[in-house]
């Protein structure tokens, strides 16, 4: 590629244009197409995201499809990469992720990343009852077992922190439970520093149900996914 700027014959110059042209086109797509990929899918065959994740990226709690709206772009790109590589095993998402080019993954992740996150309620952040295992694990953790509280990394109300710790608020119980099992079973990479692998390994099935319901109950009790104004 560096030779493109050398003093070579016209035929070589033309060949260079072909090489240089491809990424230029991809970049153009990236700039324009995040919303279009979400709404219509891609020419490469990727299904439209909205089909499962909702028009506003709000997810589908009944089916366990996660909310995407407001999740950090870097996190979404990482997950698409994991799906495409088969590291995060999912029969639906793996083929779709494979059909997205790197630029398309980035574009669609940016599209959802720019959306508003879920509403955060902190009313359960203080004074949980120990008998409420889900709330206790979320707020206090179980330090006698060296298990941090969910909120220590996922932030107040589970609203997410920075690019690496996605919001738990806004996700359904079914989705959260499935992910905790996947972390535990190794069908999903353990995340940065394998933190979630270590966390999930310390959770029993009962713990997983309880903590998933703690965060997911708000979504379920709202009677389905909240509609995003778009």
């Amino acid at each position: 590629m560096e030779k493109c700027h050398g003093t070579h014959g016209a035929w070589r110059y033309a060949a260079c244009l072909v090489f240089v042209g491809a990424p230029v086109i991809a970049v153009a797509q990236q700039a324009a197409d995040g919303g279009a990929i979400a709404a219509k899918g891609t020419a490469g065959g990727a299904t439209a995201c909205v089909a499962c994740h909702g028009v506003g990226g709000e997810g589908n709690p009944a089916a366990g499809f996660p909310r995407l709206a407001g999740l950090p772009q870097a996190y979404l790109v990482g997950q698409l990469g994991n799906f495409a590589a088969g590291k995060r095993q999912n029969p639906v998402m793996s083929p779709i992720a494979k059909q997205l080019s790197a630029a398309e993954q980035k574009a669609v992740a940016a599209y959802y990343g720019a959306m508003a996150g879920p509403p955060i309620t902190r009313k359960q952040d203080d004074n949980p009852k120990r008998t409420d295992t889900g709330a206790w694990l979320a707020v206090r953790g179980r330090w006698e077992n060296n298990l941090p509280a969910c909120l220590q990394c996922h932030g107040p109300g589970g609203g997410g922190v920075g690019p690496a710790f996605p919001a738990l608020a806004g996700q359904s119980s079914a989705y959260i439970a499935a992910q905790l099992h996947a972390f535990k079973d190794g069908t999903r990479p353990g995340g940065p520093l394998d933190l979630m692998k270590a966390v999930a390994a310390k959770l029993s099935d009962t713990d997983i149900d309880a903590v998933s319901n703690h965060f997911g109950s708000a979504v379920a009790s709202a009677g389905g996914p909240a509609k995003e104004a778009k």
Partner: protein, 333 residues
């Protein structure tokens, strides 16, 4: 010059200059036993600690005493919101005292409360537990000491007292403070620490130690800079920081780093600018000599005055040196 400083540090670290690194925790009678700023109050029988378990977190009594315990717990966990007037940075007590001050090896309150009143070399007199708490606000929280009798202090004392229910008084307890580390095999190294920081710490604490917030609330504490603990804080002592890091960091993955790695990354953390020591005399050299004359409190030793933030005394706004300047004067790289 650089080589000399390096030699000094190495010699100091390997030569037993760290009073609190002694495995038994016993005070040494040898030359210049100046404990680090965070040195714990000495207790009888330090080599034979007894085990202790605090009362369950949900067993706070439901009466007027319990209300004050609960208030203390909430100040401890949400210091920013509940003791704002005494805090000058983004930290909460629970950042360094994990599990609401309950976790063994993470400076549990039940390890501290029964150890006071105690003589502290930091201020050369017998301190009550209340005064010890005031010190936390002045140094670790880079703020103001709540007056004795202030509800913030009363609530924290009450919480610590309740957590110590059944604990033996004036007796070393297992899990008190942070588990002391032996002297490192190699002198702590800034470059190694920098690499380790990027690998293990930056995810949460940020590439430049700035921490991370969510919804306007600090979640991961800043480790240096204007919003972190000041030069006088115990965590600024590299041995103390290394002990905390080794036992407790990354969160939930304590013990991941080797002891050497903990020393290295602690040294990296403590080599950065932070708010000025509130006891600042106007001269870094003099302040250092007076309050920080230990090998494990080395970082600002060789820095020029403007490199130590001076929020509490002189300038209203923190000033940072450029990173190039910082590199140029960094003593131990």
């Amino acid at each position: 010059m650089k080589a000399r400083i390096y030699y000094f540090l190495t010699a100091a670290l390997l030569g037993g200059g760290i009073a609190h690194a002694d495995a038994t925790g016993q005070a040494k009678g040898d030359a210049k036993p100046v404990p680090a700023p965070a040195a714990q109050a000495q207790l009888p029988n330090p080599a034979r600690p007894v085990s202790f378990t605090p009362p369950p977190a949900d067993s706070i009594p439901n009466d007027d005493f319990g209300k004050m315990v609960k208030k203390g717990e909430q100040i401890f966990v949400h210091t920013q919101e509940n003791a704002r007037q005494y805090v000058g940075n983004s930290l909460n007590c629970v950042n360094c005292h994990l599990d609401a001050g309950r976790k063994a090896g993470a400076g549990p309150l039940w390890g501290a409360w029964p150890a006071y009143p105690a003589y502290r070399s930091k201020n050369k007199h017998v301190n009550t537990f209340a005064e010890r708490l005031q010190g936390c606000f002045q140094f670790s929280m880079n703020g103001k000491a709540p007056p004795v009798g202030d509800e913030v202090l009363v609530a924290l004392e009450t919480y610590a007292y309740w957590l110590s229910t059944g604990a033996p008084v004036r007796q070393a307890v297992e899990g008190r403070g942070y588990p002391k580390l032996a002297k490192p095999a190699a002198a702590p190294d800034y470059a190694r620490g920098q690499k380790l920081y990027a690998q293990h710490c930056a995810l949460c604490h940020g590439a430049d130690g700035e921490g991370q917030a969510s919804g306007g609330k600090a979640v991961f504490p800043p480790l240096w800079g204007a919003k972190s603990f000041n030069w006088g804080a115990g965590m600024h002592d590299v041995g103390n920081a290394a002990a905390f890091i080794r036992a407790n960091m990354p969160l939930g993955l304590g013990g991941t780093l080797s002891e050497q790695e903990a020393w290295d990354v602690a040294m990296f953390m403590d080599s950065h600018e932070r708010p000025q020591d509130p006891r600042f005399t106007g001269s870094v050299a003099e302040t250092r000599k007076k309050y920080h004359d230990e090998p494990t409190s080395m970082p600002p030793r060789k820095l020029s005055p403007d490199l130590v933030l001076n929020i509490t005394r002189k300038s209203p706004r923190p000033t940072f040196a450029s990173s190039r300047e910082r590199r140029a004067v960094r003593p131990l790289v």
